[in-house]
């Protein structure tokens, strides 16, 4: 995976331990035990909480990386380590090649102003500021003049579709509108690394889907690097380039959506993908076998590697003739076209 270009984010053996003297306790635990699991067990026995254990992964520039897990699995803690809202207890975190854990407070502020943006589950809007002031706040702390920053804020407000709401206060907005403000605020400073902590979890299902689609549009336009947290497998599969699944502070699997659905590493991951309509997410490539001696016959349904299984199945079904439908005594009632069967099972033909 890791190519020649510097990854946008590199996490190397990141730990976040809560409790008294966590730093020294972690060092002791790591040096006295062989594996991360043993070290975590030792820390737990000492009454500490290893909320993130030995997390290692890279996120490439422009990649949409989703971290998924149940509540309490450490995903919010991990994203707070990377954004340095929590200091982290061990390991190395590089943002665009720079060690953020070693950055001075001044440099950290600099990086937050120029490089990092974040969206929060419960929006984190400033209650005493209007929509425009909220969105412009990251520019205000940089000392930009009022006129200039409000003009810049206006662009992002229009981008997220909140034009006309600039003068409203957060309490006057609906949940979906509030999160649009949150998104606009995190975008206003042109960040290149974007953290989203369960941004759509607090919203109604319909609004959630709408915002997911808009989010994908924005991402297509801006091409920023994204770390996205969610507990919803369908959201993860819909958005992600790659998904990391966390359990009890550990990353148990990292892979593309179809990897996760088709090759779960353990029962925990399998449990997640149980309710997922696999045909929508897995591609033909994932079930394709090598082979070249197939003759080019007349009954080729025209499959391609990147088709979803649902679409491929529908194509194959089109090769069949209509089949009979009977009652329990065997009398003919009618016919069904297998292609219609396959089509009826697909959830969203637009996908």
């Amino acid at each position: 995976m890791s190519g020649q270009a510097t990854p946008a984010i590199t996490c190397q053996n990141v730990w976040q331990v809560f409790g008294a003297n966590a730093d020294s306790a972690l060092k002791r635990a790591l040096s006295s035990t062989g594996s991360a699991d043993e070290a975590a067990a030792l820390l737990r026995a000492e009454g500490l909480t290893p909320a993130v254990q030995d997390a290692t992964f890279e996120v490439q520039e422009g990649e949409l990386f989703v971290i998924m897990g149940l509540s309490g699995s450490g995903k919010s803690t991990l994203i707070r380590c990377i954004s340095q809202l929590l200091p982290g207890t061990g390991g190395e975190i590089l943002i665009e090649g720079e060690d953020i854990r070693a950055a001075s407070p001044k440099r950290l502020i600099e990086m937050r102003r120029k490089t990092l943006g974040m969206v929060f589950q419960h929006f984190g809007l400033f209650p005493h500021m209007s929509v425009a002031e909220n969105v412009a706040y990251p520019l205000r702390v940089q000392g930009m003049g009022k006129k200039q920053r409000l003009a810049k804020a206006q662009q992002v407000i229009d981008l997220v579709g909140l034009g006309g709401r600039e003068k409203n206060f957060p309490r006057e907005l609906s949940g979906g509108q509030r999160q649009r403000v949150g998104i606009a605020r995190s975008l206003v400073a042109d960040c290149s690394v974007w953290f989203l902590d369960e941004p759509f979890s607090a919203l109604d299902p319909l609004i959630r889907r709408q915002l997911q689609d808009e989010f994908l549009d924005i991402q297509a336009k801006l091409k920023t690097t994204i770390v996205f947290i969610t507990h919803d497998i369908n959201e993860a599969l819909k958005l992600a380039d790659r998904i990391a699944i966390m359990r009890d502070g550990k990353i148990v699997q990292i892979g593309t959506p179809s990897d996760i659905v088709l090759n779960p590493v353990d029962d925990y991951v399998r449990e997640f993908s149980k309710d997922v309509a696999k045909g929508q997410h897995a591609r033909v490539a994932s079930v394709m076998q090598a082979g070249s001696d197939l003759p080019h016959g007349p009954d080729d349904p025209g499959l391609r590697r990147d088709m979803t299984l649902d679409a491929a199945l529908a194509r194959c079904m089109e090769l069949y003739e209509p089949v009979p439908v009977r009652d329990k005594d065997g009398a003919l009632l009618g016919v069904v076209n297998p292609a219609d069967l396959a089509a009826a099972l697909q959830v969203d033909p637009a996908a």
Binding site: I109, R112, M118, F120, L125, F126, H128, P138, R140, V141
Partner: protein, 678 residues
């Protein structure tokens, strides 16, 4: 019955120690009265230590006091020299802006009444003190709150300090301030700033800590420096809570400025109340008291709107117009505006009140004396010195014999045994202990019994640590020689708290059951909570003269409010689902109250009791002005003699009693809350 509960064991131990003390009374009298020889001269130590410290900081204190004299004189001059039409117009304009027509009318009528009373100049002197002490208190309190928020390490000590500052009775720190700053209004100013700073600090800290974590994180991720985060995001986001602090700070400052009038030397409205009270001109003192109440209500309601989240602002142009009218009126009538002190619209009323009062008291002298003596002889005195001394032929008509003591204990033992038989052992033992306390009297309880009893109660409420704390603190009082006075204070506040609990609980229950009752009770409660402590003394003094009974009534009037409020609140706040479940099970209204609402309300009611106890202790010291014995009196005496050692020690003893009572009741409330899973 297999194992004894924690409560039963504690009660049995206390009973055993108490019985032992009574039995050994003849052999070892030192069990009852703590021997004087064992007392350490702690009061003198505290006095000399404090005097040494005070002498050290005295020069800088005096410098500070001479510096503070400037803003004070300036405020005094501005308020005194501004023509009253302008001041009234400005206040009404502000009231309009804050609360619209109702508020503006309230301000106009209130200030009009103050003007008509002829106490305008004195009121302006009081306001001048408040207007200097409040900014000082806001600054100090705000800074403490922000610092405690910024440095988690100092948070616990700061919280403890704030607790102490609020439990130490107000008079107690007037004495060292008096020594430090000398006589004069600056002492009142500084005392009120010290008294008013803690609520501000508390609310600032609370507000800052209650901000949603994500709002703070958003400010960090926006790239703000710590200063930017604090001043641009966190403090504005906590504004509502901080405004609650401003409101409480204002009220505390006003209350303390008036209390500080006992030092004298400043012609303010508190002094006026004190003076007229001493001269027994109750009509006039009631009038002055009314002026204080008007200011308290105006300040409270006007600043209260700031803390209202749904506040709307009213048209500023109306305010400007009102102000304009004031300016024009002042200019046009400048030469003719009468000296505001010369109005005496209510003088005749005050005189008539005086006359009417004398007529009333002399006409009903017998009934009033009967009430007073009845409560004194049959309730307060037995509580204080026990049946064995309070029951005399002169009052009760017979002599208390040892046979009667035996009968009392016998009946108590029978009831206790019956309770134990029914499975409520703890309750039975407590009945027996109560009988013993009635026989002996609270002020003459053997000290080992008090130590063990309070220790046992603390253990049940909050575990070993609380028990150790209570016993050590009580032992400090014992060794410092303030024990008898502490027991006297305990008796009077205990009696008042008990009366408040019964009466307040009943009123709270009635208010919870009937909205009609609450509609009457609520404004009275609001009123009683706004009135500065001092004013409570006037009406009781008018009717019942100086004495313990008047003090008892004044304490009750002040301390009953939280009991009413919390009882009602607890009983009406039962979740709707629980009510529906009980209704669906077929519970009657009364069953619902007994089985669902009351148990659910228990923690809230206990918190109300806790507040009532703290209120009672606060009032106890003020009530010393109209004749109580005990620690309050010592504190008041120390103030008169500038005896720092006695003032501080007695104040500390008072704070210790309040603290122990507070922790024990909080412990029980916490336990109930846990049991209910809240």
């Amino acid at each position: 019955m297999t194992r004894l509960s924690k409560g039963s064991i504690a009660a049995l131990i206390a009973l055993a120690v108490g019985a032992l003390c009574l039995a050994l009374e003849g052999v070892a009298p030192w069990l009852i009265a703590f021997p004087k020889g064992w007392v350490l001269p702690a009061t003198e130590w505290v006095g000399s230590a404090m005097e040494a410290v005070l002498a050290l900081i005295k020069p800088s204190a005096r410098l500070f006091s001479s510096l503070m004299a400037y803003p004070m004189e300036a405020a005094n001059w501005i308020l005194g020299a501004t023509p009253w039409p302008l001041l009234i117009a400005a206040t009404v304009a502000l009231a309009w802006r804050l609360g619209g027509l109702t508020m503006a009318l309230m301000a106009a009528v209130g200030l009009g009444a103050v003007l008509a009373s002829g106490y305008w100049p004195q009121s302006m002197n009081t306001l001048a003190l408040v207007s200097v002490s409040v900014p000082l208190a806001l600054l100090i309190g705000g800074a403490i709150g922000v610092l405690a928020n910024e440095y988690p390490r100092v948070r616990a000590p700061v919280q403890a300090l704030l607790d102490v500052m609020q439990t130490v009775p107000t008079f107690a720190y007037l004495t060292p301030l008096l020594v430090l700053f000398g006589f004069g209004p600056v002492v009142g100013l500084i005392a009120s700033a010290i008294y008013a700073a803690p609520p501000m600090a508390r609310n600032v800290l609370l507000g800052l800590q209650r901000i949603e974590p994500e709002i703070k994180e958003a400010a960090i991720m926006a790239g703000g420096t710590r200063t930017q985060q604090l001043f641009q995001v966190e403090i504005p986001a906590a504004a509502t809570q901080i405004m609650v602090g401003v409101n409480q700070c204002l009220m505390a400052a006003l209350s303390m400025v008036i209390i500080a009038a006992v030092i004298g030397g400043f012609d303010d409205i508190g002094w006026e109340v004190l003076l007229t009270m001493r001269k027994a001109q109750f009509g006039a003192s009631l009038l002055a008291g009314m002026v204080i109440v008007i200011f308290a209500i105006l300040i409270d309601r006007m600043s209260g709107t700031l803390a209202d989240e749904k506040r709307r602002s009213y048209d500023g142009r109306v305010s400007l117009a009102i102000l304009g009218i004031g300016v024009i009126a002042s200019l046009v009538f400048y030469g003719q505006v009468q000296d505001p002190g010369a109005y005496g619209l209510f003088h005749s009323t005050a005189d008539r009140v005086d006359a009417g009062l004398s007529a009333f008291t002399s006409a009903n002298a017998e009934a009033l004396t009967a009430i007073k003596n009845g409560v004194m002889f049959y309730v307060l005195l037995p509580l204080r010195i026990g049946f064995d001394q309070a029951v005399l032929p002169f009052t009760w008509g017979f002599v208390w014999t040892s046979g009667m003591s035996l009968a009392l204990f016998g009946v108590a033992a029978l009831v206790g045994l019956y309770c134990a038989y029914r499975g409520r052992l703890t309750f039975g033992v407590v009945i027996l202990i109560a009988a013993g306390m009635l026989e002996t009297g609270i002020s003459q309880l053997p000290w080992p019994f008090v130590l063990v009893g309070v220790g046992a109660l603390s253990y049940v409420a909050g575990g070993l640590r609380l028990a150790a704390l209570s016993v050590v603190l009580l032992a400090t009082i014992l060794l410092s020689g303030l024990w008898e006075r502490a027991l006297l204070s305990l008796y009077l506040s205990g009696a008042s708290v008990f009366a408040c609990a019964v009466l307040g609980g009943a009123i709270g229950l009635a208010s919870a059951v009937s909205p009609m009752v609450w509609r009457v009770v609520r404004p009275i409660c609001d009123m009683l909570q706004t009135i500065p402590l001092f004013v409570f003394l006037i009406p009781v003094l008018m009717v019942f003269q100086i004495g313990e009974f008047s003090a008892f009534l004044a304490i009750m009037a002040y301390a009953i409010v939280p009991m009413i409020r919390y009882t009602r609140h607890g009983l009406t706040e039962t979740p709707e689902e629980m009510i529906e479940a009980a209704t669906a099970s077929g519970a009657t209204g009364w069953q619902m109250m007994r089985d669902v609402r009351a148990p659910y309300a228990a923690p809230t009611i206990l918190l109300g009791l806790n507040q009532t106890i703290l209120y009672a202790f606060a009032m106890l010291v003020i009530a010393a002005l109209i004749g109580t014995t005990g620690l309050g009196q010592s504190i008041y005496l120390a103030l008169g003699q500038a005896d720092v050692g006695l003032g501080i020690s007695a104040g500390a003893a008072m704070a210790i009693l309040a603290l122990i009572a507070d922790r024990i009741v909080q412990g029980f409330a916490e336990e109930r809350r846990k049991a209910l899973g809240l």
